[in-house]
Symmetry: C2
Subunit: 500 residues, 2 copies
């Protein structure tokens, strides 16, 4: 029945078609995959072709409520896998089980934005065979797109999926909102396994991860603990010091000349940062202007601005609380974006490139404006790179807000323990002592002075800190490197050494 | 100010990091691209690095109203480019200017889904240096994704764009609806130039083509002639023969066992095919069931089904009329999909794989059920491959509807002039003479017989045609191949030869 009209001989005579193949037949209709549901995780892993030493990935959209990574790791351990590399968008307190899997040899490499608790402690103590790799969200997207990180199998928890793998984070038993990090893994991983606890009729809506990227779907009882995924709305600070810092940060924004109709911003979920959002809202109303878009990890406060018409669009790579996750499912101008769209420095242009303002927090800031958001003053890894360096690098005005001191520790130092964000990209530091402008930004300094803002030079700020807490004792490290910190472009900006 | 903590020597000592580079600095903030608007097309072309012999691409979402391709070609000609390869999603009557550019040597290769009029005639007469390449929509997406077609510069008309290139087809002076074909070009082309006549504030909404894929934006007076883009709603046929065929096709669908709540379908915009949609609507209401999704080129009739709640989702790779284009901008369950999502056979699974029914038209069908939708009975190229072979290959039941004869020409032949869709993927042929089942589908034949449907064997159908129009005179071709017809998997299913 199949009429074969084209032969190899015929093709050899056609200009430009000499190395093509003749039609040999179509895939039989009964071999077309019309459901990707696999009975068990173990079966899906077998089908994926996973082997020892390969790279597997996860996302952290469920944050501390994630049950997917522990579930998958348990199966992989039982199946006897060894020397796996974990490339997770980040790791949280839900992932401490990895300590044991590292010790057992199931895992020997970790690549992540952040890491906390026992696992972070373990890595700082040198339990990994290879140093951990810390990447920013944009840097991770870049690494995956460019092929620096080749994901063999992505295990992606999805609050809902249909039988073909069309998935989202806004429908299901446990919603997590945006699947922005997972979208990149889904598109570039060699094999993709969607793990869901809510199977819906085909076709699922909306489609965050498309069926075109999905190999297998596994239905389980529970992918996340709702209370851990989203602990309600992020709370507004009442700390007077944080409110003071926020007020000062706002005054810098107002004096910058950038706070005009249509400006854009990213503000984090930290205390002072969130308070800035609140003050911005008041200014928008007072001035009768509108913010064009809000970016990044999205909180309920940003949703409020959207619903009040004070902000035009929200670009959501990660929903920071339940209100944000719910809004993503119902507000059309609240749009899910991938980590690539968010901050990959090597695509044609990520969303961070159009930022006017970003408000960022810090564990440590040094006299050269370098910022540390990954390691504690004891030298131990404890937090996350996140979008810190991505947004600082691109925003017209990056503002780092932090208290001058925290207890007996100074935030302002001669030298930060670890550089995550280079000082050349940090424009303004705001502490409870005032506004400190990076000398590279003489333009901003001039504007702030003209506006009558009280400024404090970095030298004086550092002195003020030392006056309170004294000269900090240098941390003692061993020589062994336990983690490398990649800058967003893939270069290595710092290393973290083993603690003594 | 830049603290360089990492040296090449340090990295050489770190396991797995010996070939990485130390951080050297961040891109200065004043070098970040915050607008991609280029003053003229010529300037954008210069910036794109286009060279003689390269491949440029266009989409055909404006159909016969397209002004982008002629505008770009005029500039390229003036700039002196030679031997360009045109890789367009399709070519219409708006693109006859290409005949002159081929004759002048500006263009020497054409790859497209379809081609009509003077250009088609010219290609059939052998004006191209290399044979033209005919691909299905899914096959083109596959070829681009797999790298068979490497697009150097994509010139993508967009009804609206912002300064960063975020574009869509539902806002603007001349809307075209879905940008489904263009999305693939945008993502995979080396350089992407968005050409728009409606520049909107950043960020544009919705985002069909994202800024991450766009290099330059050029604003022009007019990208399309609205009346040509969309000639109102597609009209419902009153031709009794077409209505008869549609009725018979419906009866086959009803008898197939697949016409149950949640089934899916694609129906074309041809007369009989559109009439089937109308009859399906009546059946859905009568049976109180719902279609889960409609796929493909979307017409106002599908939109009506959506708005009446008779269909759950529309997946729109190409809006066939103004009503469809408008609906895409307002109905959330009317979703834009890329040609990759639509039909690329080599991704994890395109939407066609979940089709229950597809209703397709034909220029010619032969006794082996092969279908020709590209060349006329005179052997001259005249139409388009479209999604014909993609949907036929995947749908559980592919139905080809056509009149037995058209004037003095038979639709049913011993041998089609050109094979676009192989007979092994065509399940049912419906003509005004009745329903003809492919012998491969004994299962369907049994069901149809049980339902009391009048069937006619292919042999009898062919005889009936010959009884009316006699034995057709064989077409005389020269030996020279003027076009190759690629099957969706990249193999060559047929060639078209030069007409005498």
């Amino acid at each position: 029945m199949e009429n074969k009209r084209v032969t190899k001989e015929l093709l050899e005579k056609i200009k430009g078609y000499d190395n093509r193949v003749p039609y040999e037949g179509s895939v039989p209709k009964n071999e077309i995959v019309r459901s990707k549901i696999i009975d068990s995780l173990e079966e899906a892993i077998k089908l994926s072709g996973l082997e020892d030493g390969m790279t597997i990935s996860f996302h952290h959209h469920f944050r501390s409520g994630d049950k997917v990574l522990p579930m998958v790791m348990e199966v992989l351990d039982k199946m006897g896998f060894k020397n796996l590399r974990i490339a997770s968008s980040s790791l949280t307190s839900a992932h401490e089980c990895l300590v044991d899997y590292i010790k057992k040899g199931v895992v020997n490499r970790i690549e992540t934005s952040g890491v906390r608790g026992k696992l972070a402690q373990g890595i700082s103590e040198g339990i990994l065979e290879y140093p951990a790799v810390i990447r920013s969200h944009g840097g991770r997207a870049r690494a995956i797109v460019e092929g620096d990180v080749k994901i063999d199998v992505a295990f992606l928890g999805a609050p809902s999926s249909d039988c073909m793998g069309n998935s989202n984070g806004v429908v299901g038993k446990s919603i997590c909102g945006s699947l922005g990090y997972a979208k990149v893994d889904a598109h570039y991983a060699n094999k993709v396994i969607i793990i869901t606890d809510t199977l819906v009729d085909y076709p699922n809506y909306p489609i965050s991860i498309p069926q075109t990227d999905v190999d297998y779907v596994v239905v389980v009882d529970e992918i996340g603990d709702s209370s851990g995924i989203m602990s309600g709305a992020t709370r507004m600070t009442k700390d007077p010091k944080e409110l003071l810092i926020a007020k000062k940060a706002l005054s810098a924004m107002l004096a910058s000349g950038l706070f005009v109709d249509g400006f854009s911003m990213q503000t984090g979920s930290g205390g002072a940062s969130l308070a800035v959002t609140k003050f911005i809202r008041e200014e928008l109303i007072k001035r009768n202007i509108k913010c064009s878009y809000g970016l990044g990890g999205i909180t309920t406060y940003f949703v409020q601005l959207l619903e009040e018409g004070l902000i035009g669009s929200l670009f959501d790579v990660q929903s920071f609380d339940l209100g944000a996750a719910q809004s993503l499912g119902k507000n059309k101008m609240h749009q899910e974006i991938s980590a690539d769209f968010y901050a990959n420095p090597f695509n044609c242009s990520p969303a961070v490139d159009k930022l006017d303002f970003v408000i960022l927090s810090a564990l440590e800031i040094d006299k050269d404006f370098n910022v540390n958001v990954i390691s504690g003053s004891d030298g131990v890894i404890r937090a996350a790179s996140g979008g810190h360096s991505d947004t600082a690098a691109a925003a017209k005005m990056s503002i780092v807000v932090a208290p001058l001191t925290r207890g007996r520790l100074s935030t302002i130092l001669d030298r930060v323990t670890t550089i995550v964000t280079p000082g050349s990209t940090v424009d303004v530091v705001v502490t409870d002592r005032g506004i400190t402008v990076n000398p590279r930004r003489a333009d901003l300094k001039e504007k702030f002075e003209k506006a009558g803002l009280e400024l404090i030079d970095m030298e004086d700020l550092l002195k003020a800190a030392k006056d309170i807490v004294g000269e900090p004792k240098p941390i003692e490290f061993k020589n062994e490197v336990v983690a490398v910190v990649e800058y967003r472009d893939g270069s290595i900006i710092d290393v973290i050494k083993k603690v003594k």
